[in-house]
Every structure is written in C-alpha cells, then in structure tokens.
Symmetry: C2
Subunit: 366 residues, 2 copies
C-alpha cells in the first residue's frame, strides 16, 4: 500500500460511510465499517464487521483512526475506543451534539444566538415552560430526533397535554418559535494542526421535516453574514477541539442568524460539494481525521443544487440525460420517506440552475 | 437494492477496475472482481474472487454483466462466459485489439490511415520486411506489449539480428517509422442502443515508453481533425459492434492523423475525465455496458492535465495543497516504473494550467 495510507474504521455503514470511503480511496486510504448487515450502503466498499459483541473490537483492530456516521454514536463506546485508537470527531463533539440542551448551553457560552428554550421532564414542567417562552413553540426530544421526528409544534395551550402525550414521557426541550425567512447551514472542517476551512452558507428546503433540496451557495447572502457564520463555526470548532467536518444549521431572521443545531459529521446539506466544490466535505473530513492538509472549499461554478431522492428511485434515465447533473444512489431498498440518493447539478447562473431543476420536478416537493 | 442496480463482474482487479467501481457505485451498481490477490487496487471495492480454477465461475455466478481491465483478457474465456452472461466489450473487440496485425488489417478495411507494416516470424522475414518498409522502423511483438515493452527501434541494418534476438523468437510486426509532431488519443463510447459519444482529442507525452502526462483537450486542434478522429472511431465502434469505451492512439503528422493502436477499455489517457469532463470515461463505460443512456463528454473547464505518479508516491501534501488539483492513488506498493496514481488538474487557460503543472515538477519527466 501507498506509504501515506491509513486504515479508517467507520462506525455505521450507511450512505455517509459509503461517500466517505469513495472520497478517501483516491487519497490512498483503506476502509472498514461496523454495520448491521451486508445489504447496507457501505457494505461493498470496504471490510464489513457486522454489529455483534466483537464487531467494534474488529474495527478497532483494523483501524489507524476511527470516525462515525451518526451523532447518536454511543459516547461511552467512543471513550473506550479512544484508549486504543484515536476517534475523530472526539467524545466532546459527540456528547454535546447528541443533546439539544447541551447544544443550547454551548451556544450560550460562545455568544451564538439561539432560540429561547426550557428543558422539560414532566407535563408540569411543560406548562411552566410554555408560560415562560410563549406560543407558538416547538417541543422536541432532547436526543435522537432527526428528519423532523420527535417534534411537536404547540400553537395553543389546549395542545400542551396532547404534545406531552405524543412525544413525552422522556426528557424534552421546548424551544421558542423563530420567525425565519430561510433555513441555512454551514459546513466547516478543522484538522488537528488547527487548520480551518469553511464552505459557503447554503439554503435548505425541507418538506415534512425532511431535507428535500439545497441551493449552494445560498443566494443574496452578504459577506458579513457569511463572516458571522464562519465566526460561529470557528468558536465551535475551537471550543470542541473538533477534528473533522462540523455542520451547523441556522435560521435566517430579520435580526440575523440564529443557531439551531450542530452535527459532528458530514451532512446532507453538504452533499452538493461532491461535484460542486474543489474539495468535497467527504474528502475534507477524511483529510482532517488522517492529518492531511485541508483542501479548497471553493465552489466550482456560480451555483449548485442538491436534490434528495426520497422514497422511490424514480425515472433515473431522465436524470442521466441532463447536462452538468450528477447522480448519487445509495443502493437502498425503496421505502416511503427514505433517502435513497441525491442528484447534484451545477450551473453558471441561477436562471440556468432553476431551468434544470424544473426538469427534476419528480424529485421535488409539490 | 435500487431497482435499476446491476451486478458488474470485472476480470482484473487493478486501478482500472477500482476506478470503474468508484464511478459505478453512485449509479447504483454493484461490483465484484476476479484478481490475483487481496492487495490489488480493486480488492476493497467489491467482492473479490482470487484467481484459481473457480474464480471466473464465481464471477459469472455473481454478475449480470462482465467487463475487463485488459486487452490481454483470454478470448476463449470470454467466448465461454458469453454463453452464460453478456461480456462487454464483446469478443471481437478483444480479438482484434490484442494483436497488432489484426488491428492494422481492420484499419485498412475501414480506410483509417496507419503505418506500413509487415508481419515477421523469422529473421529472414525481418530482413525482407526491412527491405520492404525501409529504416528506421519499429519492431514490435504482435501481442502483449504495453508501456513500451516488447519494442525495438531498428535504425540501421546492422541492428536487425540484435533486434530479432532481443524480442524475437515469437511473432513480430515491423512498422514503418512515422514522423509525428504529437501523440494523440481519442476515447469514444458506444452503448447497445447505438448511441455514440466522443471525448476531445488529447495530447499524450510519453517518456521511456510510459505515458507521463496528458493535456486535454490537445491544444490547437482544428475542428476538422477532431471530426476525422470521430469518424475513425465511429467506423471502429460500428464495425466491432463495440459496447463500452474504446480508445484509439494516433500520431499527428503533416499528412494528417495516423492510427497506432486501439484498446477496448478505459484508458490512461482518459483519466483526466474524472474531474475534467461532465461524465468520466469510467462512468460512461459502466453506463454503456449496463444499458444506461450515455453522459455528456463536455470538458468542465477550458483545459485539463493528467499527470501519472510513477515509481514513488512523492510529496503528496504538496499536491493536496494546490488549487483545482485532484489526487487519485491506486493503493499500490512503490516500484520503479509502476503507475501508482495520477493527478488531475483543471484551469481556465493554458497559462494557468502550465503554472500549476510547473509545481508538479517532481512527477514530470526531466
């Protein structure tokens, strides 16, 4: 193997592992995954250890460095692994980002604006929190929510009991409703040599809680807003001593950017970087965790879009025939609401981009 | 798996298989390889069947369609496999391209200019051939030569016996010396629905018989020359009923393009297409053999270069820090003369390209 090669173990074997591996092989790296079964998206792209008592041990034996696909990776497990082999991002990034309360506390410490919030452990707590924060407000599980799951928008006091019944009986957080014009996100990367790089802010369009498409860069963002987002990211990366990709979801409001949540991993809103930026988020993550210099985050063209393929694969030949359009399937069975792949498209003008986007109507929300 | 997924078996497990697989996974395809050992470049990128009596049978069991890395793949084996599962490119392309004499006959049949030649089976044959063709001339093995191996340039009659001794005692071909300004190549793709696409002519710079770098598109090519090359390719693709990528090496001379040889596979001179064209040669090969529509061959920027990494990996961090520059390592042990990887770079002008190329001096021939 090439002298610079490192063996990378990934906890998880979904599409993020798959795309990390495909970005890392050209750098000379090798990959293994710890997953649930041999039908997962990463299964053919490296050595596969199937989840059972010794799978993590096998991954640790294999790896020079370990990373993960999900912010729900077990913190205790990561702490244990770290005694033998480095894990990036390290325990602290994981511990904070898997709990909405801890995220909010960190935002507060770093003077990063976020929604008002209260932690809620009972129906009584919830009633008090509503009085404090006012309505409408969003009740969320503190952990494990994704793609809009584990959330309830409380519009009037009569819904409080129902909200508690639906997602309660566990720790929740009530967040004040933010009136926002757009949902944005920013992806940044830091390596152990303290290099930082930032991708431009992107605009994410959700439907039913699931990211449907991203416009990159987000249009009409003035320089000072991008700078603000980068300052927030720099504070977060440094405070967490974060190595790898970190994603931050933000609301764009009349009073500026409001932080929503972080993810200590490659992020769906960064998939456009695969063809859209000089170095993809996947490659920069692999570079960061293996001690390589980070690559340029410069967009390759004026504007790009990323469209998720959700539920059914659809008419793929129509995609393959479009100019400057790039298909990424994850080799997953069709199932309602499931992310099966994404399509990247690039253009030299917003007009051209939206003209091509219109031809991808089958993949866009109604 | 995605409904459109096909299982692709690749005979061979080197860097070409590796890059075909990485281009095919995003299309939803799955891969297996028949190779020599688990350290080969493709070994981690799919199922691996190690060469022994039953490896090909296992590959056939796995695959919906089979392709190969080398024009030296056994024709009889391909004929046998084709009884069970389709092989693309099919037997005829392989049969012709693995023998320099058959190639020349085909060029003749299709009115594609090539060097004068004589087949040679003895020292006597060689003497007669030299009289016929004149000197200087190049003596080559009819089969299996690559990267300049199995060749002898005869400059004067006193070298005839030495040449025969060095590479003879097998079937040879003597080719008239072509006075050329540049070595060019063109890559074309055809699918079973008879779609044809062509990449632009590129300029290949060899050293000691090994391709060192490619400039794409070749500069100062007038439209009619590109058209001529495409016409040659169309004739070849159609005559061979070829499905997949076909590469044609050409000499640029004062009297026009002269065909040198074909390769029924993805080709080193097409590696620039990975970031340099809207659809890479690898992706278009996979599209062609799986019945998908072919993708655009349009270059993404004004000019690109591909630089082979030969023998030693070198200072990779210097490569990773260059803008618009893309590393592709093959995970091979260092060894003199061995292709270990390549670097693609793109630019908006030849001036910018050559400025970056100058920074890759360590990889360029002296």
């Amino acid at each position: 193997m090439t002298p610079i090669s490192k063996k990378i173990g990934i906890i998880g074997a979904g599409q993020l592992g798959r795309m990390m591996a495909m970005a890392g092989y050209p750098l000379g790296q090798k990959f293994a995954f710890c997953g649930n079964n041999n039908d997962e998206p990463s299964a053919m792209l490296g050595q596969m250890f199937i989840e059972k008592d010794c799978a993590i041990e096998s991954l640790v034996d294999f790896a020079d460095v370990i990373t993960y696909e999900s912010e729900n990776t077990c913190v205790e497990q990561v702490r244990e692994i770290t005694k033998t082999v480095p894990v990036f991002p390290a325990e602290k990034s994981l511990f904070i980002s898997q709990h909405r309360g801890r995220e909010k506390i960190l935002f507060g410490q770093l003077d990063i604006p976020c929604a008002p919030y209260q932690l809620v452990n009972s129906l009584d707590d919830l009633k008090k929190a509503v009085e404090e924060i006012g309505l409408p407000a969003i009740l969320k599980t503190t952990t494990e929510g994704y793609d809009g799951k584990g959330q309830f928008v409380i519009k009037k006091t009569s819904q409080i009991a129902l909200a508690w019944q639906k997602i309660g009986n566990r720790e929740l957080i009530l967040e004040g409703f933010i009136k926002f014009s757009r949902e944005l996100s920013i992806i940044a990367v830091r390596n152990a040599e303290n290099e930082h790089v930032y991708y431009p802010l992107v605009h994410n369009i959700h439907d039913d809680g699931i990211l449907r498409y991203t416009i990159a860069p987000a249009q009409q963002i003035i320089d000072s807003v991008q700078e603000t987002a980068e300052i927030y990211m720099q504070k977060l990366l440094d405070e967490l001593n974060h190595v790898g990709v970190l994603a931050l979801e933000l609301f764009e409001t009349d009073s500026g950017l409001i932080a929503n949540e972080i993810a200590p991993r490659v992020h769906n809103s960064g998939h456009w970087t695969m063809e859209g930026a000089e170095t993809s988020q996947f490659e920069n993550h692999i570079r960061a965790i293996t001690g390589m210099p980070l690559g340029s985050t410069k967009p390759k063209q004026e504007i790009a879009a990323m469209v998720n393929i959700i539920g059914t694969t659809g008419d793929i030949n129509a995609v393959l025939s479009l100019p400057n359009t790039y298909l990424h399937l994850y080799d997953k069975e069709e199932r309602a609401g499931r992310k099966l792949g994404h399509i990247n498209l690039l253009a030299d003008s917003a007009e051209d981009l939206f003209a091509t986007l219109a031809k991808l109507e089958q993949f866009l929300p109604k």
